[in-house]
């Protein structure tokens, strides 16, 4: 399963869970305790003023003390009602259940007090206050009804109005036992009558019509529309004691025109309940219904949102967050969560202000579920993904050519850290390996990027061209590496091998074909320092086959080129220099073989031999490293003179050796040095006139810290042509250019110069003022014990 797919699936699971939380929590009010707490807190901030038109006549502890224990005789109530009636209230309501008959005298007295006495059908309703009585419900009712209605006993029913002065006083409690809402009306079933609340009766008495809340409530089936009561400050409704009313000591103003509600407030009577306004204590039922009347009057009941409305409002922010999960950065998600949290609370408070109650608890619960869950899944998924990638990296055996040091941790996180460490090390190693490999390549190479900048050049190239190309561009590199004459052809090659479009994507087969193609073409050039190179360039491609730059491989073919020119030299030698004396020998053999001919044959033969030996020696020097031993240069020179003495002696040439050195040892190759001096001396003899002198001088010369041995050869010949002097030591320069005696080997002096160079020495040639050539050689002396 891909990382992406896994994430999507987990997102769906989290979305489903969040939605389920919202719906089920709303449905079953699971966060009720939180929501109620919030509601109580919010309603605390806005308590409506008490309704001034209400007067509560409280059956309080003082009254109980005065009149004895409850229940009291009904003529007692009758007296109180009569007392109140005298003061002309607008209505009198009893929050006292009168569902059973008592003593007939008492009942009669109360009935008279309520409805006037004697009960006279002719009499029109008096101007007396309206009387309202409570009925109550028995839950559950018989015959499957939700409840049965228990009316007041017959003596207490209004003879004129029938049941129209009855209202329910039922209370509805929340799951936490606190009273927050109530129903404006009740209806057990379609067959039974609908009962408005006792307070609704008072409202209708005041205004002559149903309250707006009542109108809304009756539209619901069975009147099932509980509304939340905004409670006034506890105890803020005007109250007088029952005993005051009984004794007639209350002020007339406090009763006149008011809606009087008689009810129990004494703690002992049990008609006390907790409400949001009670602050932990209890509020008498009569005060609760008085609050209801206030709310009816103000029409400020708080309507709880329906389940569907709540669900919609709750899900909206949750879905915003869920979509945000897929699109936002973790930090943004955290911020969004905070905003949604606060937003829900503010929304709830705002709605409450406008008279609606939305419980934010379920949405908050969903938020608190989804955010950490998503965070955890994301972390887990990332950890899993990283772990898998690391394992992949580990399993690629060849990924680290240098091998890895196995680290060992016991715990999982430690292991992952080690693996990551290793992966990072691995990549570092790999990069290092690649760089080292490239740097250490035996052939020069450099790499350019798409912008023609040199991004890599290896050590050997830097060494060969004595500069670093990195940092410069391609044309810079070409100028550094290629001598002027060769640049056009190099540029031509580069242009021909350029890929036309930089965006082209090349597949594997194409790459193979291209590399084939590229490696078969190359350009050859000479560097400004005279080294010969062959250059190939191959495009550098990314893993996806995109063009990234070029690799330039160079091959230093200087040695090869030299070998080529040596082969040329050899051909020259064989075709002319060696053939000529052999032809001469054959010619001489054809004629008369006298002493002179014999001598000529010997000379020609010796020349060929010397040429061959020179050539062999040159070849050997080219192939083998310097292999010197300590030797006494004086003796070596002397022995060379000895060996050529017969040749010089034959023509009366005297070789004078003046050795003013004190035994000069050098590190030298006896073979090549002997041959070199022999060549020089042989030349000198060759170009000396008969009976002349050749002076050989050996002496020490100090040059700072080093001592050099100086060897000079002076002859008395015609000297060297001035044209020839600068090129004297180059190959195939016929010695001295004397056309009359073009018998030089063409190799001799270049060989001599090569030998002297091999000994870290120097050689120069010049003409003496009085004619004759002078050759000077300087070779560094060796210090005793050095070899």
């Amino acid at each position: 399963m891909t990382f992406r797919l896994r994430l999507i699936i987990e997102w769906f699971i989290i979305a489903f869970l969040a939605n389920a939380v919202v719906i089920t929590f709303l449905q079953w009010d699971i966060t009720a305790s939180f929501d109620n707490l919030l509601y109580d807190g919010l309603s605390e901030t806005a308590r409506p003023p008490a309704d001034d038109d209400i007067l509560i006549v409280a059956i309080d502890d003082a009254s109980l003390k005065e009149f004895g224990k409850w229940p009291w005789a009904r003529d007692q109530h009758a007296q109180v009602i009569n007392n109140i009636k005298k003061l002309e209230p607008r209505s009198i309501s009893l929050d006292i259940i009168l569902s059973e008959t008592g003593e007939p005298e008492g009942d009669k007295a109360l009935s008279e007090a309520l409805y006037g006495a004697p009960l006279n059908p002719e009499e029109t309703p008096s101007n007396g206050p309206a009387i309202f009585l409570p009925l109550h419900f028995v839950t559950p009712g018989n015959d499957g009804r939700a409840f049965d209605t228990i009316l007041p006993a017959s003596p207490f029913l209004d003879p004129k109005m029938g049941q129209k002065n009855l209202g329910h006083v039922n209370l509805t409690f929340d799951s936490d036992g606190i009273l927050r809402k109530n129903n404006i009306c009740f209806q057990a079933s379609e067959e039974t009558p609908m009962w408005p609340h006792l307070m609704e009766r008072i409202y209708q008495n005041r205004h002559g019509k149903a309250s707006p809340a009542m109108e809304k409530a009756v539209k619901k089936p069975f009147c099932e529309a509980p509304v939340l009561i905004p409670f006034s400050e506890s105890g803020s409704i005007s109250t007088i004691s029952y005993s005051e009313a009984a004794n007639g000591t209350m002020l007339a103003d406090s009763v006149r025109g008011k809606d009087v509600i008689i009810g129990a407030t004494a703690a002992g009577l049990g008609d006390n309940y907790p409400t949001p306004s009670s602050n932990g204590s209890l509020i008498p039922g009569v005060e609760i219904i008085a609050n209801m009347l206030g709310a009816l009057e103000r029409d400020d009941f708080i309507t709880p949102l329906s389940l569907w409305q709540s669900i919609l409002i709750s899900l909206l922010p949750i879905w915003i967050l869920l979509i945000g999960f897929l699109r936002w950065q973790p930090r943004q998600i955290l911020m969004a969560s905070g905003v949604i949290f606060l937003g829900l609370l503010i929304l709830s408070a705002t709605l409450l202000y406008f008279g609606f109650w939305f419980p934010p608890g379920p949405a908050l619960a969903a938020l608190f579920l989804a955010y950490p869950l998503w965070g955890w899944r994301r972390l887990q998924a990332m950890s899993y993904y990283m772990g898998r990638k690391l394992r992949e990296l580990e399993s690629e055996e060849d990924s680290s050519p240098l091998g890895l040091i196995q680290k060992k941790s016991i715990d999982l996180v430690g292991k992952q850290r080690d693996t990551l460490d290793q992966a990072i090390d691995n990549i570092r190693d790999l990069r290092r390996f690649v760089t080292d490999t490239l740097s250490g390549l035996p052939d020069p190479m450099f790499v350019i990027n798409m912008d023609n900048e040199v991004i890599l050049s290896n050590d050997i190239l830097n060494q060969r061209i004595d500069s670093n190309l990195v940092g410069g561009d391609l044309s810079n590199a070409i100028e550094t590496m290629v001598r002027k004459e060769d640049r056009p052809s190099v540029w031509q090659y580069i242009e021909a091998s350029d890929i036309e479009s930089a965006d082209v994507i090349i597949d594997q087969e194409e790459i193979v074909r291209m590399v084939d193609n590229y490696s078969s073409s190359y350009v050859r050039f000479t560097s400004p320092r005279g080294r010969n190179f062959v250059m190939r360039r191959v495009p550098l491609l990314s893993n996806e086959g995109e063009y990234r730059g070029y690799i330039h491989y160079l091959a230093d073919i200087t040695a090869l080129a030299r070998a080529d020119s040596q082969r040329e030299e050899m051909l020259q030698l064989l075709s002319h220099d060696m053939r000529a004396p052999q032809s001469a020998i054959l010619a001489l053999l054809d004629g008369k073989i006298d002493e002179h001919a014999k001598q000529s044959i010997a000379n020609n033969s010796k020349r060929t031999l010397q040429l061959a030996q020179d050539f062999v020696e040159i070849a050997r020097m080219g192939e083998t490293p310097f292999d010197g031993e300590e030797l006494l240069i004086d003796s070596l020179v002397e022995e060379v003179i000895d060996s050529l003495w017969p040749l010089a002696n034959e023509r009366g040439i005297k070789i004078d050796l003046s050795n003013i050195s004190e035994g000069s040892f050098i590190i030298g190759e006896a073979d090549s040095l002997s041959r070199a001096f022999m060549n020089l001396l042989d030349n000198a003899i060759k170009f000396s006139p008969d009976n002349s002198n050749i002076a050989v001088k050996i002496k020490n010369m100090e040059f700072g810290k080093t001592t050099m041995v100086s060897i000079t050869l002076e002859d008395q010949g015609n000297g060297i042509d001035s044209d020839m002097l600068p090129i004297l030591f180059e190959k195939f320069t016929t010695n001295r250019g004397n056309e009359g005696r073009a018998q030089g080997t063409g190799l001799g002096l270049s060989f001599v110069s090569a030998v002297i160079e091999r000994h870290h020495g120097s050689i120069s040639a010049d003409n003496k003022r009085d004619g004759g050539a002078i050759f000077s050689i300087l070779i560094p002396e060796s210090i005793e014990g050095e070899s």
């Binding site: 031993e629 300590e630 006494l632 003495w645 035994g663």
Partner: protein, 228 residues
């Protein structure tokens, strides 16, 4: 004396045979190294002269074989056109008593052969006064006369001169010379010997004009050559 001569070139065999017969030696020739080995097993010789480059078995292989197979092997002269220092020392170190590079002068060859035979025949000979051309050695007085004039020499220089003249035309290794004259080679550098040789050469004026020259076999030793 009986001389075994091996070379794959008939011209060389003829040339060498003429020199040896002039020196009144008996010459037996072999065309290759294989035949030479067989001949050496059957016959006894006073001297072996062999070429390096021969078919079937080259000179160096024959030399090595001789060291192992033949008791009291006769002296061997290696004759070759290989002139490189390393080749010469290789042959000498493999057991050749001397080494002649081709081409070489007839007289030089005959001098080198007689030097070799002289040593092997009468190495114990002792003349109190010996004359070599312009040089006279007095072995009792330890003096050298050159053109009837005495040359002042140290004791070691005289010994060196004596050794060189006795073994003229023979190549001697440095170690041999140093052991003979200084008895021990401890604390002796090659420089010391080189300097002695150089000094002797100039004191006695050992030059071709005077019929002698000292020849250095680089990496191996020295030889005093007599010239005509």
């Amino acid at each position: 004396m009986r001389v075994a001569l091996a070379d794959d070139h008939q011209d060389v065999l003829d040339f060498m045979t003429s020199i040896l017969e002039e020196m009144e030696h008996i010459v037996v020739t072999f065309p290759d190294g294989e035949r030479l080995s067989q001949g050496l097993m059957r016959d006894t010789f006073d001297l072996v002269i062999l070429d390096w480059n021969m078919p079937k078995k080259d000179g160096l292989a024959v030399l090595n074989w001789m060291q192992e197979a033949i008791k009291e092997a006769p002296p061997v002269i290696m004759m070759t056109s290989r002139t490189a220092k390393n080749d010469i020392t290789a042959a000498l170190n493999a057991g050749a008593d001397d080494y002649i590079t081709k081409p070489e002068d007839r007289n030089v060859i005959s001098a080198r052969i007689s030097a070799m035979l002289r040593r092997s025949a009468n190495s114990g000979s002792f003349e109190t006064k010996a004359v070599y051309g312009k040089y006279t050695l007095d072995r009792i007085e330890h003096k050298v006369m050159y053109d009837d004039k005495e040359v002042t020499l140290t004791a070691k220089e005289f010994e060196l001169i004596d050794l060189l003249f006795r073994n003229r035309d023979r190549t001697m290794s440095r170690d041999y010379i140093m052991e003979t004259i200084w008895r021990t080679n401890a604390a002796l550098t090659t420089r010391t010997l080189d300097m002695h040789i150089s000094r002797v050469r100039s004191k006695l004026n050992l030059k071709p004009e005077n019929g002698f020259r000292i020849f250095t076999v680089f990496g191996y030793g020295y030889r005093l050559e007599t010239l005509n």
